[in-house]
Amino acid sequence: MVTKRKIDPFFWIAVFSTCTVVIFILFPLTEMVLQPSAQDLKDSIYDPDVLRSIGLSIYTSGMAALISFLIGTPFAYLLARKNFFGKKLVESIIDLPIMIPHPVVGIAILGLAGKNHWLGQFMQQVGIQIMGTVTGIVTVLTFVGLPFYVNTVKAGFEAIPVRLENISRSLGASLSETFLRVTFRLAWRSMLVGIIMCSARAISEFGAVVIVAYHPMIAPVMIYERFTAYGIKYSQPVAVWLIGVSLVLFLLLRICSLPKENQT
């Protein structure tokens, strides 16, 4: 006799919640992408201001990711490998930018760069300006993106057995040679994922940037401006292009970071 398998109600709850989440995320986005007409999209991509803003968004987020890579990698390695007094504190500090309201980040950085602060005065002397410059945008984006890079890469380093490094050292390689010949070779995928996470976070930043540099305009600021000045219809095409371009870039990076079939 075949007994019918009873399906637990929890299964249906899970199916329902999955559908809700997917629709909740995808419905507004697809609607927004589908609403602008082809003509609107074409017009906006020929608009040099739009092109410039999207280009600037990608450039500044890329720079933020590059800086995170350079200064975040050794830091993530330290967090993954060493135990030291106050490590938990340092780990919470790196998470701070994730929870601080975005405009507050902008205000904090602007507070340092102003004339009333010694750092601002010093920067003025050497010719670095934060307010209303690309430098300012990159600074802000690095601030908000860095935790995502560090946390991702730290997990990547932790996944590499420390024994491999021990063996390398015992064979005569110094700490830095070991890092280059073993650790880096095994962790580059997680660094790439970290770069994706960091620049994804950076490209979506608005609140902090709008305080530090309304001009030059990055795409989210331009979308906001078009919305306030001309209404929803004019902001949508720019948003669609920003989403499209970022999607393609992230997809490419993701493909690079996928492991080959014969490797595990």
Partner: protein, 345 residues
């Protein structure tokens, strides 16, 4: 020579204390102990991987306590092989060569020789994925020995292998040790491995060394109940002594010679106790009437608990003997123990 003096390593909840070892050049030294006794810690301290709290480590008279791992010239082979997954077999083996200033011809010869000895030539260009455990461990050995270290540290190199590979690698280790000048220091929890490979051994118990000596001496003359049990001696009893006699509970055992001062225990290997139907007699034989208390089938042999008075002996019996004696629970039997088989400590 490797000398470890008053090594002290403290971790939260565990400490390795008073470790003093001196290992001769070219010796095959075994470090024996149960899981969690701190064996790996000693090896990693010698390699410079774990920071030590106190003590000194000298190799060939040179203090290496404060040197970085790459300055020490110690090779390591781990239980899980720890091969570089992104490198081919050959690149794994030759990884360390560039850091050692030897004539390229000499090192090439050495690598070729090692690969011959370890049967690795057919694998040279392969990636290390999809190799068997035995192959991986042979690569790990070749990699460590390629740079001609003064000491090879082996951390349970046989434990993760299938039984058939285990014997291969065990024999290889013995052969390699005879052919190279390197000192071998191997950690294991298996006394049979230690007996087969080692010349001397140290038994580690909860962060302290219980006994150091030639393997056969430790095997036959353990110094503490812990070492005795670790060496597979299942009969260890508290005893009191008078003249050439030992008393365990109410049982009197004749010894071969007077026990000497400060002895508290007797130990008898389970394979040294004889069970028979009619008993044996003789000057140097202790013989008792007893009963079979329990029988356990251990696969290759039977373990029989045989009781006399209030003492229970654990006896190892071959399957053949077991069936000949037609043993069953509560059967009356004779237990005989040669006085020379009784170890007093």
């Amino acid at each position: 020579m490797i000398e470890i003096k008053d090594l002290f390593i403290k971790f939260p909840g565990f400490a390795l204390e008073d470790i003093n070892l001196s290992i001769q050049d070219g010796e095959f030294f075994m470090l024996l102990g149960p899981t969690g006794a701190g064996k790996t810690l000693i090896i990693e301290a010698i390699a410079g991987i774990v920071p030590i709290t106190g003590g000194r480590i000298l190799v060939k008279g040179k203090e290496i306590t404060r040197l970085t791992p790459e300055q020490r010239g110690t090779g390591i082979v781990y239980q899980d092989y720890a091969l570089f997954p992104h490198l081919s077999v050959l690149k794994n083996i030759t990884y360390g060569l560039r850091y050692h200033r030897t004539n390229p011809n000499t090192s090439k010869k050495r690598v070729t020789w090692l690969m011959e000895q370890l049967g690795l030539q057919p694998l040279v260009q392969r990636s290390i994925h999809n190799l068997s455990g035995g192959e991986k461990q042979r690569i790990a050995l070749a990699r460590a020995l390629a740079v001609n270290p003064s000491v090879l540290l082996l951390d349970e190199p046989l434990s993760a292998l299938d039984p058939n590979f285990r014997e291969d690698i065990r024999d290889l280790l013995k052969k390699l040790h005879q052919e190279v000048e390197t000192t071998f220091l191997m950690v294991t929890h298996d006394f049979a491995e230690a007996m087969f490979l080692g010349e001397r051994m140290a038994v580690l118990n909860d962060g302290k060394i219980d006994q150091i000596g030639p393997v056969h001496e430790v095997f036959h003359k353990p110094a503490t109940p812990f070492v005795a049990k670790f060496m597979g001696i299942k009969n260890v009893f508290h005893a009191s002594f008078r003249n050439k006699k030992a008393r365990v509970n109410n049982l009197e055992l004749h010894l071969q010679s007077p026990p000497g001062e400060n002895k508290c225990y007797v130990a008898i290997r389970p394979e040294d106790i004889i069970i028979s139907k009619n008993g044996a007699s003789g000057n140097d034989i202790n013989s008792f009437q007893g009963k079979v208390m329990g029988i356990t089938d251990r696969g290759l042999y039977f373990e029989v608990s045989a009781g006399t008075g209030n003492v229970i002996f654990r006896v190892m019996l071959s399957k053949n003997d077991f069936f000949k004696l037609e043993l069953q629970k509560n059967k009356d039997i004779h237990i005989s123990i040669r006085s020379s088989a009784i170890h007093v400590f």
